[in-house]
């Protein structure tokens, strides 16, 4: 079975050649490997490869899978290339920069209005979560295209608060 993986942003083909427990596979241009794989707990895979023991813990998130091994995080999207569509392949529009809430929280203050010119490092919005106020700043000089944040509003992580252009 051939799969298209994106591992921490980099695309890598993956080929599963034989099923577990004696799982044969090839990642990218690497050699063919054989691993002993068991699932002792839900979402936990015990993998023996070249005599080394690994415990891989898999989390399912809206953005894909997160695999944690020995404290290291891998964000991995798995696609079956036969089903792949280009819907998600669009990039950010040139020049426009969306400033999004980095964590869930509450908008405390909106410091700019649509049409304002802002300088690099200038504060745009103050968001508070867990009693910690964070000022979101402009990465570079720009004009404020739109302000969707309202003071007092509760926002989710990733919600766009201000758009710069």
């Amino acid at each position: 079975m051939k799969l298209a993986l994106t591992i921490n942003g980099a695309e890598q083909p993956m080929e599963l050649l034989a099923p577990a427990p004696a799982c044969r596979f090839r990642l990218g241009e690497g050699p063919e490997l054989t691993a002993d794989v068991r699932a002792p707990e839900p979402c936990v895979y015990s993998i023996l490869l070249d005599g080394r023991s690994y415990d891989a813990r898999v989390e399912e998130t809206p953005e894909g899978l997160v695999v944690v091994i020995d404290g290291y995080r891998f964000e991995i999207q798995v696609r079956d290339p036969r089903r792949w569509n280009r819907k998600s392949a669009g990039g950010a529009r040139e020049g426009r920069q969306a400033v999004a809430a980095p964590m869930p929280g509450k908008v405390i203050r909106v410091l700019v209005a649509a049409g304002d010119a802002v300088e690099a490092g200038q504060g745009l919005v103050v968001v508070e979560a867990m009693k910690m106020q964070n000022e979101l700043r402009a990465a570079h000089a720009a004009r404020v295209a739109a302000v969707s944040a309202r003071a007092g509003a509760t926002v989710a992580a990733g919600e766009v608060l201000v758009t710069l252009e």
Binding site: L5, A22, Y45, R57, Y72, F74
Partner: protein, 526 residues
Amino acid sequence: MRRCGTELQPDAPRRRVCWYNSGCMFRKVLIANRGEIAVRIIRTLREMGIASVAVYSDADRTSLHVRMADEAVAVGPAPSAESYLRTDRILAAALDRGADAVHPGYGFLSENADFADACRDAGLAFIGPSPESIRKMGSKTAARLTAIAGGTPVVPGTDHSVTLEEARAFTAKHGYPILLKAVAGGGGKGMRRVDRDADLESAFRNASSEAARSFRNAEIYIERYVERPRHIEIQLFGDVHGNMIHLGERECSLQRRHQKVIEECPSPLLAEYPEMREAMGAAAIGAARAAGYYNAGTVEFLVDPQRRFYFLEMNTRLQVEHPVTELVTGLDMVRLQIEIAAGAPLPIRQEDVTWRGAAIEGRIYAEDPYHDFLPFPGTLTRLDRPMGPGVRVDGCVYDGWTVPMEYDPLLAKLAVWGASRDQAIQRMIRALREYDVGGIRTNIGFFRQILEDPALRAGRLHTGFIDEFFEHHHAPKPPADLEAVAALAASLHATSAVASNGRGETPAPTARASSWLTSGREGRLR
């Protein structure tokens, strides 16, 4: 008898012997707090045979302190101003449940003199110092004056809250950098470092508004910024009979956003210069005596590179990092607090205090250290705690628990003891490797990374250590062999979903054996 703590005054003559062994211990204690510290207090209460009453906000109904306590009372909606800071509701809960005493924990009402007063007026013992001592030490500006009166050296600054104009005048005279600090503050909230005039106004407004939100007091004062200081604090215990001892120091120089994240006992500096422990211990006791202090308290000092120390503030409560002192001295500090509040004399003298080995604690937070330590609330999908020799976890989390976004993101404190500082650090790294929290981000991996740092291992610490660390370090790169293993795990996990629902959708977060695993198992069964 009940209510024995309420009549205690440090200078009042004692008519009645009133402590644990004479049958005068509290029978029921309300904990006016949440999270790990409420759990910590419940544990000692249970060991002492005292019933515990938890309070909780709407966000905390299923939190561990509520589940562990003998009794629990709802005190309001999620925002702490409407629940954990509501003196009236908390006292009503204590009286309604028939509690004798209130333990305030840390944060919330713990350093609120009016709350301590209200407890006394309600006939409840407050497990902490007198309201008078809190007033002398609770406000940072008052504490400076008290320390000055006690002859303890302080950092140059204003002895009162300032307006923006007064702040400008201070900087015109003393220059930059300065620290803006909340008069009622603690834990770095409402605190800002300012390096130039251009930043003063916005920093002042942000600090003031954060202070108002956190402490219901927007007042700000100024201190000259001491470059590259260490933060070393002295743990004190006094009883109502006038005895006072110190339990040595804790080094808390490893901070992010001016908040401690790793603490240790002993301080590597004082281990090298033991005469400093005597000097700082004496200075701390002097300042505390000037406030007529009893129960647990901590005097915090800044220590500059020339090893001069300055009084920073006094925390008139139990500290978050108290476990490292407990591990090295062998004492249960919550038990001591309760006994003292019930009128008992200190069970040990200064010469009985011994320090054995070394302890180190890491505060496990729901946050992303590699993205500016931003808080990361969410639901825990997995939890494996470290175990084994010398490991202690003070936590409030369990598998499936949702970290509320209304409160401090502290999940647990991992503390370890070792025969030496090196052994304690090695043990800490080992324990962190066993610690697995899924579903949210934590600082566990960051702790492993920073504990390997040669300067940290050599004990060369200062409060800007973590900020400087990030100037030279990024998230550690995983060893090369892990990528293939991760890819394999993800592929096996995902293909089961592709096979089972046929659409390749993100599967629901439930346990699902990969079809590749299943077919392998079936193969073996045949």
